[in-house]
Amino acid sequence: MVKREVVGAHYGLRDWLAQRVTAVVMTVYTLLFLVALASLPQLDYAHWKALWALPVMRYATVLFALSLLLHAWIGVRNIFMDYIKPTGLRLTLHAVVILTLVWYAAWAAQILWGI
């Protein structure tokens, strides 16, 4: 019987690339968001709400949010892989993080498009 271990699945390069692509997306979004914020005539509820009513703002934020969740997943998973040695515990924590991030994605969609 082959003794398999839950490591070495060869997804390293893909995740390495994803971590960097999502980082660039978030950096660009951060700069554009600051520009959008600075261009508001006044930082009150009406202007803030109007900014988020723009489709470009919503879809850019969707891209940012999905990038953040993927980035967070890879980062947190790497931390667990480094420090959590018992396989069962580590995989349980992975599952918890995945479910939490999916919940955050739904929460973000709810904020962006209202209830």
């Binding site: 960097r20 660039v24 803030w48 709400k49 967070a72 980062g75 947190v76 955050y104 973000a108 904020i111």
Partner: protein
């Protein structure tokens, strides 16, 4: 794998080079930002919910303790961002010499703290 190799992994006796400090802070700031995601989502939700919840947001973030927490998280974000940009440069083989790597690590620390102070003064 021979087990007799010398190990020097006592965290209390290792003197870290500044690159290691920046690297460790990159990981810690990332973990902290992840843990505070619900706070960010909630605050964002309050700003967009209604005029009343917008005012709730205003009063929450004007609490001095909350200001300190948010400023700390802003520092974490800026450090993670600056250190991340440094990582991308290293990936492109820019600044991989010892002196340059040390200098860019110091630059990350100075830039992220400097930007946090500027933002803190502007927002306070």
């Amino acid at each position: 794998m021979p087990k007799s190799r010398p190990k020097h992994l006592n965290l209390l006796t290792i003197r870290f080079p500044v690159m290691a400090v920046v690297s460790g802070m990159h990981r810690i700031s990332g973990a902290v930002l992840f843990l505070f995601l619900p706070l960010f989502l909630w605050l964002w939700q309050e700003t967009l919910g209604s005029r009343e919840s917008f005012e709730t947001f205003r009063s929450v973030v004007s609490n001095p303790l909350m200001k300190i927490i948010l400023l700390g998280l802003l520092w974490g974000y800026l450090h993670h961002l600056c250190a991340g940009i440094r990582h991308l440069a290293l990936d492109l083989h820019l600044g991989i010499e010892l002196a340059a790597a040390r200098a860019s690590s110091v630059a990350v620390l100075v830039a992220s703290i400097g930007l946090t102070v500027i933002a803190g003064v502007a927002l306070w």
